[in-house]
């Protein structure tokens, strides 16, 4: 499995990290090494073994539909990098027309 700096750049875009060209050069061989080291799991890819997503077999954990107090709006916004009119202020969103 060859992982090129280009591949890493694509993954970084998907993960929203603006990696520098130097980082891409540095990380690509490391990441490839890691992927080689973990590729052995593929031995069981076609094995008839159910996957385990949860460590312990719990099911049906629910809470009653009861309203709990909200954070005070000041506390909700206290950690915000920017706030305005009781809302979180963020830079312009380039996205879907809503």
């Amino acid at each position: 499995m060859a992982l090129t700096p280009d591949d890493v750049a694509k993954l970084a875009r998907l993960a929203r990290i603006d990696l520098t060209p130097a980082e891409l050069e540095h990380l690509a061989p490391q990441l490839e090494g890691i992927l080689e080291a973990v590729a052995s799991v593929q031995q069981v890819r076609d094995a008839d073994v159910p996957p385990t997503s949860h460590a312990l077999p719990l099911t049906n954990v629910f809470r009653p539909d009861m309203v709990q107090p909200s954070l005070p709006v000041e506390a909700a916004l206290a950690g915000a990098p920017a706030a305005e009119e009781s809302r979180f202020r963020v830079p312009q969103i380039l996205g879907e027309e809503a």
Binding site: V38, R45, T52
Partner: protein
């Protein structure tokens, strides 16, 4: 070593003295704050210390004692909290620049239970960024040093919590263990660290690394202290869907008993031999012989799928982490870079995550993004989850014939700072023995079993017990502790060189 006798006391003795009014929590707390001021410049176990708050909490306990009100079994005892758990009024950084200065508006369940039990939180302990690492060198705020040899790593990710214990800056600390982050630091610092059964302690307020693996647990210098702390933080929490709704096993009774007669102990064949430091193997083997001499039945057990554990872990962890860390996006909290009117929200996210995350975090996010992406899911994440099933089955089969499994906690003792920083695979190998228990969710702990002859550094023995049989860990740990302390003529940490006390 500082003069106060409180620094080397066990938590149990401190709590007893405080409750009896023999000495005050304020006095004990002040001694530890002084010790931190004296040695933490060198050790760097703490990221944040709030002496005023700690003393106020201590005085509150003293007032209760003076008024004759009942206090909990660890009331008034100072403690260091790993900086991955939220506590109001203190910053939670997770060792990351992206969270610098973030004050959470809520307490983790573990924090709530500590505060309600009257423990005195001294501050937040250092850690690898977002708990990714085995050396605490990945902290954005600089590494922690091993009090046994300050040129060496204290383990990770909870190196701050282990070093604080070994440096006598706190008698108790809280760690979190995703692949060994409590047990491996305990092993390399000669302290006790317990990863409870997954679901045995609440993850609410624990900033997630890998949700299906993370588990908070107690760190201490003695087995009984760890058990007392386990009892305080353990138990069902309705805010955590993966929390087990059952009473905590009686870990304190087990720690007081230490009777291993008739206990069936399985030595895991796959976790030892080639690649293990000879001194580690030697001390481990001696400890197993000791258990046998104390009446345990020792057999060898094979868990063939453990060979695949590291590979499965380094796919499952980054996958979950890539998703868990997506929320660090500069929109609602934490660092924001590039918000100068010229960048879109998306660009600000990209710039902030680039500037705010360190190398290891980036590596794991990229690997996780890859392993989950369409077209690769089945080969990587899906296969890793199948391996996880095989590991669970190995444990189940083993626990049909033995009560506990044992292995060295880590293949080597503490290595020099810097040695593995840019060699992720070498760093990952430190978790070889600890990872299977995280994948299967069972209880596991590390106990000190001596110093490796080659380098004079601590060696840990790992005990693994079935889910919800956490008490068995303490049974084995207490047996070893009692016999070894007798053999050594005192606790292992008595043999640590005094740290240079540097005025702050």
């Amino acid at each position: 070593m500082s003069t106060s006798p409180h620094l080397t006391s066990t938590a149990a003795d401190l709590a007893a003295g405080i409750a009896a009014g023999t000495f005050s929590s304020e006095e004990v707390t002040r001694a530890h704050l002084d010790r931190i001021a004296a040695v933490d410049t060198e050790v760097h176990a703490f990221l944040h210390v709030d002496g005023e708050r700690a003393l106020e909490a201590a005085r509150a306990v003293d007032a209760k004692v003076a008024a004759g009100e009942p206090v909990g079994p660890l009331a008034g005892v100072p403690l260091g909290l790993k900086d991955v758990l939220t506590m109001q009024g203190a910053p939670t950084t997770c060792g990351s620049r992206i969270l610098q200065g973030w004050y959470p508006p809520y307490d983790a369940t573990v924090t709530t239970r500590l505060l309600q039990a009257g423990l005195v939180v001294l501050g937040k302990t250092n850690m690898d960024e977002f708990a990714m690492g085995s050396s605490t060198e990945n902290s954005a705020y600089g590494p922690t040093r091993n009090p046994w040899d300050t040129s060496r790593i204290p383990g990770g990710s909870g190196g701050g919590s282990s070093a604080a214990l070994a440096a006598f800056e706190a008698p108790l600390t809280i760690g979190t263990d995703t692949g060994g982050s409590i047990r491996q630091p305990a092993a390399v610092t000669g302290t006790v660290g317990v990863k409870p059964t997954y679901g045995g302690t609440s993850r609410y307020g624990l900033v997630a690394l890998a949700s299906s693996l993370d588990q908070p647990g107690p760190c201490a210098r003695t087995v009984l202290d760890a058990a007392l702390l386990h009892q305080v933080i353990g138990g069902h929490d309705p805010r955590d869907s993966t929390s087990i709704d059952a009473p905590v096993p009686d870990v304190v009774a087990a720690a007081r008993s230490g009777d291993v007669r008739g206990l069936r102990v399985g030595v895991v064949r796959e976790l030892g031999g080639e690649g293990y430091q000879p001194g580690v193997t030697q001390r481990f083997t001696e400890a197993v012989e000791l258990l046998s001499s104390l009446g345990a039945e020792v057999v060898e057990v094979s868990c063939p799928s453990f060979e695949q554990a590291l590979a499965a872990y380094y796919l499952i962890l980054p996958s979950e982490a890539s998703s868990n860390l997506a929320k660090f996006d500069a929109m609602r909290f934490g660092l924001r870079v590039g918000d100068d009117g010229s960048h879109s929200a998306e660009e600000v996210m990209n710039l902030t995550r680039e500037a705010g995350f360190g190398d290891e975090v980036k590596r794991r996010i990229i690997i996780g993004t890859y392993a989950l992406s369409s077209g690769y899911y089945d080969a990587y994440y899906g296969s890793a989850q199948k391996v996880r099933t095989l590991i669970v089955r190995d444990f189940q089969a083993a626990f049909e014939t033995v009560d506990v499994l044992v292995s060295p906690t880590t293949p080597t003792t503490a290595w020099p700072l810097g040695e593995r920083v840019d060699d992720p695979l070498a760093m990952y190998a430190a978790d070889l023995c600890t990872i299977p228990s995280n994948l299967a969710g069972n209880a596991s702990a590390s106990f000190p079993v001596g110093l490796s002859p080659e380098d004079g550094l601590p060696v840990g023995l790992q005990v693994m017990a079935p889910p919800m049989a956490d008490d068995r860990l303490y049974l084995v740990g207490a047996a070893l502790e009692r016999a070894l302390t007798e053999r050594w003529g005192g606790p292992l940490l008595d043999r640590i060189d005094a740290l240079q006390e540097v005025p702050a």
